[in-house]
């Protein structure tokens, strides 16, 4: 069978940007290989007819809506497995993000389909889909196709662009799904808790981002001083946010924010893929790191191999002097 089934994540009455990218991508691909561009949504009463139907704007031709707990993967696996079995979709597609990985992996087990993850591009070839995914820290790119159905495609964060290709509202069909026993054994206690100060890094033209290389929480004072001199804001990697050095609101990458400022100055950041996906579209990337082999040097425009404890304070003074002049 043909057709593509995409999962759209929502929170507080709004769809996730990456999910809308995946819906748009699914619509584009379904036109090429034939069949429906269907979407699954799972949640509570905030999934109104209007909200679900609005996915039609992004090219969805049909929306399946199921009532089940939100924010957890396994109930969505139950819903998608049933929709795929009842309607015979050939592919399941996910935008980036943690739930996409979990749902896609669960579906692989449930339906025995092949799975690819961190996919950056999907091609339609001879009525089938081929997933393109970088491997080995992005040092090579593999093209992968699927044996049997369904083929499960988990995108990399921001791999798929939103595009309003559709016209009008998509029809919405309610599906009644009996959840698996084990899907009901995890319960959300608190969702989307914000920790730490509110920092707006998405609108900043200049960001000074700090990683583990700052050495200790107090190391962020160096980054803050430089950001202030440059007239920018401070961002952080997941590692230092997880370690409690800096607030979550400042986090860049896979589970944090995606930014594209004019200048991204990375201090003590190695440049793991999970970080890279959140900042690689920045216009100018400057990296300071003491490890000459740090992956970040492979995608920076200016790389400085050296001790940031020595460089940052002097750079801050020099920027201040230049700007004051």
């Amino acid at each position: 069978m043909s057709g593509i089934l995409t999962y759209a994540l929502h929170y507080e009455g709004e769809f996730n940007k990456n999910s809308l990218g995946a819906v748009s991508e699914g619509a584009k691909l379904a036109k090429e290989i034939g069949g429906d561009a269907a979407v699954v949504v799972v949640g509570g009463d905030d999934l109104t007819d209007e909200l679900c139907g609005s996915l039609g704007k992004y090219g969805a031709t049909k929306v399946f809506r199921a009532k089940a707990p939100e924010g957890l993967a396994q109930p969505v696996v139950d819903v998608m497995a049933k929709v795929i079995q009842d309607n015979g979709y050939g592919y399941a597609l996910f935008g980036g993000g943690l739930l996409g990985f979990e749902i896609g992996a669960g579906l692989t087990a449930r339906l025995g389909g092949g799975v690819t993850m961190e996919v950056t591009e999907v091609k339609a070839q001879d009525g089938k889909l081929v997933a393109v995914r970088p491997i080995l820290q992005d040092s090579a790119v593999a093209e992968v196709d699927y044996v049997g159905e369904p083929g499960i495609i988990i995108g990399r964060l921001n791999a798929f662009e939103m595009s309003e290709s559709g016209d009008g509202a998509a029809p919405v069909e309610d599906v009644d799904v009996q959840l698996s026993d084990w899907s009901t054994k995890a319960t959300m206690v608190q969702r989307g808790e914000q920790r730490g100060a509110d920092v707006n890094i998405e609108d900043a033209n200049i960001l000074v981002a700090g990683g583990r290389g700052l050495g200790k929480p107090e190391g962020f004072e160096l980054a803050e001083a430089l950001a202030e001199a440059l007239g920018g804001a401070v961002a952080a990697t997941r590692a230092v946010v997880d370690a409690g050095w800096y607030p979550y609101a400042a986090q860049i990458g896979q589970t944090g924010k995606t930014v594209a400022p004019k200048l991204y100055l990375a201090a003590g950041i190695s440049g793991a893929i999970q970080h890279k996906v959140g900042m690689q579209s920045s216009e100018n990337i400057v990296a300071i790191n003491k490890d000459p082999n740090a992956p970040i040097f492979e995608f920076s425009d200016l790389g400085i191999v050296g001790d940031l404890n020595k460089i940052l304070p002097k750079l801050t003074e020099a920027v201040k002097a230049k700007k004051g002049a």
Partner: protein
């Protein structure tokens, strides 16, 4: 309570990874090590065992891999596991995510664990997915990328970063949990533990021992085919400055920023 920790042997981080152009598989020769994320999973198991909130009878390290993978198990045992199980069989070579998850789940079924822990990602390949594949085969609830985990009244209380901030999730046992590296600081094994690791029981299992259907694993069970491996899109290499004289370096950075009108 019995805890099984899934571990994996991966190429050492310092070794340059390459793809064998003929088989299109990762060349797994060269120095190997225990996947660093798995050391956090073992430490999480040890903290539950030592924490006093659950009665842990046994921590079992489980791996799937060629004969050489015993070294990963020895390391796991030196970090505190009581014994280990190695699923090893020529029929498993070239298994993809789908097949690997199935094979590990079959191996775990024989152990009947109350909790399965693993690192959220491996250094050498398929990230973030194995835990959720294994969980669905075992019919257990599952959570990945967990950064805090406590046992309370026979349940787990887990925290993680998700799309919209921090989520707190309560999970009933038995369960499969993959952990991130922020969850703990793994201990260093004592010399005595390293020396003693080879003496701890190690069961080698072939696919027939745990009821794995040969057609569902290895090359035969593959649900994906690699068509081609290409070089990545080229990005022009940036300028690199080695900091020898910091005043000079800073001057160069400022000039570079000024040229791009970033100091306006």
């Amino acid at each position: 309570m019995k805890i099984c920790v899934l571990v994996k042997e991966v190429p050492d981080a310092a070794v340059e990874k390459r793809i064998d152009p003929n088989s299109k598989r990762l060349d797994r020769s060269g120095e190997k090590n225990l996947n660093p994320f798995d050391t956090h999973a073992i430490e999480a198991a040890m903290q539950i065992k030592e924490g006093g909130k659950a009665d842990v009878e046994e921590v079992v390290a489980v791996t799937m891999g060629p004969e050489s993978a015993v070294r990963a198990l020895h390391k796991a045992v030196s970090l505190g596991a009581d014994r280990s199980v190695q699923l090893t069989d020529d029929a498993l070579a070239d298994s993809d995510v789908c097949a690997t998850g199935y094979a590990l789940a079959q191996t775990l079924k024989a152990e009947q664990p109350d909790l399965v822990l693993l690192g959220q990602q491996s250094d050498d390949g398929e990230c973030y997915t194995i835990g959720a594949v294994v969980a669905d085969h075992l019919h257990m609830p599952s959570l990945t990328q967990v950064i805090k985990m406590d046992v309370e009244d026979g349940k787990l209380r887990c925290e993680r970063q998700a799309e919209y901030g921090y989520d707190t999730v309560e999970v009933e046992l038995p369960a499969v949990i993959s952990v991130g590296d922020a969850i703990n600081e793994p201990r260093y094994p004592s010399l005595k533990a390293i020396m003693g690791a080879k003496k701890k029981p190690l069961d080698a299992k072939a696919i027939g021992d745990v009821g794995i259907e040969a057609g569902r694993v290895g090359g035969e069970g593959k649900r994906t085919t690699v068509l081609a491996i290409n070089p990545p899109p080229q990005k022009e290499a940036g300028q690199i400055i080695e900091d020898e004289d910091t005043d000079d370096t800073v001057e160069k950075i400022v000039a570079w920023l000024e040229e791009r009108k970033l100091l306006a």
